[in-house]
Symmetry: C2
Subunit: 426 residues, 2 copies
């Protein structure tokens, strides 16, 4: 049966079901539909489903809108809340539900478990199941595989294909990266690898496919994100040192990197978000996690450091009106999950400050002029490209202090307000 | 006076004195001499001076031998122990003495202070002094500058030029990198920057010159090295995780990096040496050094981790004969300062093992066949390229276990001995 599935995918006759229409699943489903496969996009949230069904992605992603509407017109993509029916009609099931963390910093696998339960209701014989989530290493081998085998009374690798295929796209560049990034495929056996190779090659026949074990694939995803997160933490540590020594970390890092083959330091700034902000936790309960837990401690301390820097300058924050520009966790994104900007807002509120937030990407925030109005302090918390145009508005808002987390402005930009920059000593 | 020095350097009539004929100073002096300047190479060690005088560099460095002998034939380079006389005859003084650490993990600045004392004996009017050492930030501003100004009764930047020009070469590639790497110049003022720009442009007119403050230059050097050191620590942490999860870190890291724009993880292995092994300490006494001190703890724990892995496999190490291949801190180097291999040897000796060391680059170690003779365990501790040819010799040595720190061999290489690889679970 499984070799027949290989042919079905190659000839474009296979049907795919993507469970979870978030920032990972929807772009993937749309990309597969655009490759000619029929695709069901499943989500438990009826509002999200009807939004997608109207051709409106529930988040910003360059190029997704047009492609979604195109595959819908072609009848290749259908959003639905009916998981069981979609799974039973499909040949390939891709699980891309969220794996967030709980308040106690444990993984919340409830969405994954819900998806597995729904999948198990169908006859899985001859189907292929691919896991696109970020997982604790060995979850496929020790949880997902036994669960599916027990419920289906079938054998993974023989009766149904099973593989870990981690997502590694950059939010905002998902469509481009889905076409160009290599895919890591950790199948339980060779036929599982072959099926998912054929599937991803439909998106782009030139895509690199990298093979490893399911656990290797889980680790590779974590290594990639944690490496980035630790690099940001180090840049942030350097930023605070530079402040202590009265230097500008942005400038020193630029010089250290310039045409130097062994230095690729990122810029200092807020590091967080739904992936980087929690992926280290997936390895956090092992015995040997000193660098990663330190990086977490350090990056999470930066909003507090910003708050303290402003507090030292102003005395008390109680009753102060503070305009915070930026709420998303990264530039050009509307995603605020685990954003250091939201943490900054919480901290400032805790000290009794009145917060006025503007973020051009995030719905429900104030327009720029309202956010700046009567503000004592302006914090440029995110490096959205739009903010560099606001120098005049900020300077003329009457605020006494501008705090620039990302070094967007030069020291001499503001004539009326004092200027502090994260990573620059004064 | 200082503008005249600019012309003197440009026309090739300047005389340079390099204090410290180590792995930094000797290549620099020889490179400047080969650019047509007359150069004194000064060292307090008479044996080193007479060795250099015979045309024999006291360490390995590709291309240095020939260039040294050429500039000596041309009468452009003279090694000497006479610091004061050399300084007084020179227009530019470059200080490249060592700045190692003490047993208490403090910086040992005695060589630097000795050099400053000697320099101060000469009339510094119209001369330029460049510091090529690795320093605690603000050392030039807070120690070197006041020292020289007080002793000379002159003003830095006006009467003599002064700049921090940190070295950033890779040992083993010093000659190549001296010609090609950008130079960071942190002068006390513009004329100081101009003088050292002209000096470095003599080595290669196309060299990039990057300007910053003296403290910025001190920080840039530390940022560069610490970034590398932390990257190694993270790879080592990943290696131990991979071991715990029964996977091979070398393979997972290869996959994570492959054609992926946001992942440049190094390979796991020993990280140490006279620069990386101590540079973090130069920032270690500040309040905010969590990542770097964690990286130090982690990298320094790897030799112990190797020892423990072998001990768990063998039971006791007491009386065991262990061949250690590699003693230098990096591949193709004869430098054993702060080498994790020397730490590994110390640890094994502490458990009562009998150690037989072979390193093709390090004098005084055993030939390969003597090192392997009657060994119970062979540890491939350094990734010298020669070692990959020794598979047959190792397998036929009669050893029971091969431990491969760098993943030089494949798991199936050894027919008679068990095989352990750092970062690979079993």
């Amino acid at each position: 049966m499984l070799p027949a599935l290989v042919d079905k995918i190659e000839s474009g006759n296979a049907t795919v079901c993507v469970i979870g229409l978030g920032r990972v699943g929807l772009p993937l489903g749309v990309a597969l539909a655009s490759s000619g496969l029929t695709c069901y996009g499943v989500d438990v949230d009826p509002e999200k489903v009807s939004q997608v069904d109207r051709g409106e992605p529930p988040f910003k992603e360059d190029g997704l809108d047009e492609l979604l509407r195109r595959v819908q017109r072609q009848g290749k993509f259908k959003a639905t809340t009916e998981t069981e029916k979609s799974v039973s009609r499909s040949d390939v099931i891709l699980v891309s539900v969220g794996t967030p963390t709980t308040m106690q910093r444990c993984m919340d696998f409830s969405q994954l478990q819900g998806a597995l339960k729904e999948i198990s209701k169908s006859d899985l014989y001859g189907k292929a199941i691919g896991i696109r989530c970020t997982l604790i290493p060995r979850t496929l081998n020790d949880v997902i595989k036994p669960h599916l085998e027990e419920k289906s009374k079938l054998k993974a690798g023989k009766d149904f294909a099973l593989a870990m295929c981690p997502e590694r796209i950059l939010e905002g560049c998902a469509m481009d990266e889905l076409f160009n990034l290599p895919e890591i495929v950790g199948g339980v056996n060779e036929i599982s690898n072959t099926i998912f190779t054929k599937l991803f090659k439909r998106i782009n026949p030139k895509k690199d496919i990298l093979y490893t074990s399911p656990t290797g694939a889980e680790l590779a995803k974590l290594f990639t994100n944690i490496y980035r997160y630790v690099s940001f933490a180090l840049a942030n540590e350097f930023a605070v040192w530079a402040e202590n020594y009265g230097e500008d970390a942005h400038e020193v890092i630029r010089i250290a990197n310039y045409n130097y083959p062994r230095s690729r330091l990122p810029k200092p700034g807020f590091a967080g978000g739904p992936c980087l902000g929690k992926d280290g936790l997936l390895l956090d309960n092992t015995i040997f996690t000193s660098i990663v837990s330190t990086a977490w401690k350090l990056n999470e301390a930066i909003p507090q450091h910003v708050t303290e820097s402003i507090r030292r300058r102003l005395g008390v924050l109680y009753g102060k009106r503070i305009a915070v520009l930026g709420l998303a966790f990264k530039a050009k994104s509307d995603d605020t999950r685990l954003s250091p900007c939201t943490k900054l807002v919480e901290l400032l509120k805790g000290y009794g400050a009145m917060i006025q937030v503007h973020d051009p990407y995030v719905q429900g925030t104030l327009p720029i002029h309202e956010a700046l109005k009567n503000s004592d302090v302006v914090i440029v918390a995110m490096n959205h490209p739009e903010f560099s145009n606001f120098a005049k508005e900020i300077d003329e808002s009457g605020c006494k202090l501008v705090y620039d987390v990302w070094g967007i402005f030069d020291a001499g930009t503001f004539k009326k307000a004092a200027y502090l920059r994260f990573g620059r000593g004064t």
